[in-house]
């Protein structure tokens, strides 16, 4: 059977576009006083440099919505916490209103999925009015149950961050977690810098509280942790492998290929969406043409033998299914792992999409795929 790589690449591009278009929108409220480092946190966490001076559409008196067309994330940034008790009451009222509006819409794209309350560790103490605000708000939130995460921003001092975290935990607030972060490298003095940290922890904490339908979106929009993107992509490969293994058992001889290709296309689309990269057709064509047939004669032989075995009813179907399932699973794992490595290289800027179209690029891809097959045998 001849495999049309151009058609597969076209299907992949369609699936990728569809996948990205269908990502659910993640909505986060970022609350806290002006100057605590909310903008740095947002820019450190998400792609697309969301926060720029003057950007954001006012949704209420004390809240602006930061979003970008085609980017599945809305950040609701609160303002006015520092203006005293009355303003804080107003902010609380507006936050509750926005949450309720989302609930009434019964649309996951409109609902508020998480609240980050930001406190600056460098300020040395948590003001009582902030604790009171959180206590009042969490009381109202008992009905709406939106997960609240306290983010300790500018935590360049480990000691201070620990003290502040313990202090907040002692207040027994109804919050999911208190996470210290340093969103950007910080110059301690002329000689030393404190490296940014904590954003990957925030992603993990977020992933624990977000529903499954928003996990793809979280990985797509975040830029803080390549490791988490890779881990999530590997989980996508595991599930696709399990599906491919089952599809290999299809009792109709030579039908497994028809089932396998859509599963692998869906896997490629998922991985691309997780990395949030712009992938063009020529790159996918190069990837497909480099990997198809790279498995060599052993895999082709196994496929033919297993499918011929399926022609024998009963024992032949089982034996053929087992061989075919194992081959399909191995191929899918190798394909997925090779594609993750490719995405990682492009993400890090080690490889340009244009390099993939060259003979050297294709040879490299073929080598990578063969290595993955060998590793998964």
């Amino acid at each position: 059977m001849e495999i049309n790589t151009d058609k597969i690449a076209e299907d992949c591009i369609k699936a990728i576009n569809e996948k990205i278009k269908n990502l659910k929108t993640l909505n986060i409220i970022v609350a806290g006083k002006t100057g605590v480092g909310k903008s740095t946190l947002i820019n450190g966490m998400f792609r697309e440099n969301l926060v720029e001076t003057g950007m954001g559409k006012p949704v209420t008196m004390h809240m602006r919505k930061i979003s970008k067309k085609g980017f599945p994330l809305n950040v609701y940034d609160t303002r006015g916490f520092e203006l005293g008790k009355d303003a804080q009451v107003e902010v609380k009222k507006e936050v509750v209103e926005v949450i309720q509006k989302g609930i009434v819409s019964k649309d996951v794209n409109e609902s508020i999925h998480c609240i980050w309350y930001c406190i600056n560790t460098a300020s040395n103490r948590v003001e009582q009015e902030e604790i009171d605000w959180l206590k009042d708000f969490t009381k109202e939130n008992q009905v709406t149950q939106v997960p609240i995460i306290i983010v300790l921003t500018q935590s360049f001092s480990k000691k201070k961050a620990k003290e502040m975290r313990d202090m907040i935990l002692n207040e027994n607030l109804d919050v999911i977690q208190v996470v210290p972060v340093l969103a950007m490298d910080y110059d301690i003095d002329d000689e030393y810098i404190a490296k940014a940290y904590g954003l990957d922890t925030l992603i993990k904490v977020m992933s624990e509280v977000l529903p499954n339908e928003l996990q793809d979106t979280l990985q797509n929009v975040q830029k803080a942790s390549l490791e988490e993107k890779k881990r999530y992509a590997q989980a996508a490969v595991v599930t696709a492998t399990a599906a491919a293994f089952g599809e290999g058992f299809s009792p109709i001889p030579f039908s497994d290929c028809a089932l396998l290709i859509p599963t692998q296309v869906a896997m490629i689309a998922s991985i691309t969406a997780i990395f949030g990269l712009d992938i063009n057709k020529s790159l996918i064509t190069s990837f497909v043409s480099s990997t198809v047939g790279a498995g060599g004669a052993t895999i082709a032989g196994k496929t033919i033998v297993s499918n011929l075995l399926k022609l024998i009813p009963g024992a032949g179907t089982i034996a053929g299914g087992s061989i075919s399932g194992a081959t399909a699973g191995m191929l899918t794992t190798a394909l997925g792992e090779a594609y993750i490595l490719l995405m990682e290289a492009i993400y890090k800027g080690e490889l340009k999409s244009s390099e993939m179209n060259t003979d050297i690029g294709k040879q490299e891809m073929k080598k990578l795929f063969k290595e993955r097959i060998k590793a998964n045998k």
């Binding site: 480990k158 000689e191 992933s207 996990q215 859509p262």
Partner: protein
């Protein structure tokens, strides 16, 4: 008897095909999230803090 076997074979093949194309991708989405979450290592919050490193000499030179 032969006909019944053939019909059974075609029917089961068709069901597997539909499941493979339409149901599996949806299940994958749910399963992926679960597998990812189960793979989380326990976060040690007590030990969270920045790594302190010496500034790159080149960076310093550029800065100056």
């Amino acid at each position: 008897m032969q006909n019944t076997k053939k019909i059974w074979c075609i029917m089961s093949g068709a069901v597997i095909l539909v499941v493979g194309i339409f149901i599996v991708p949806r299940c994958l989405k749910k399963l992926t999230g679960e597998i990812y979450k189960k793979g989380h290592r326990k976060i040690n919050f007590e030990n969270l803090g920045p790594e302190i490193v010496k500034k790159d000499t080149k960076e310093q030179e550029n800065g100056n």
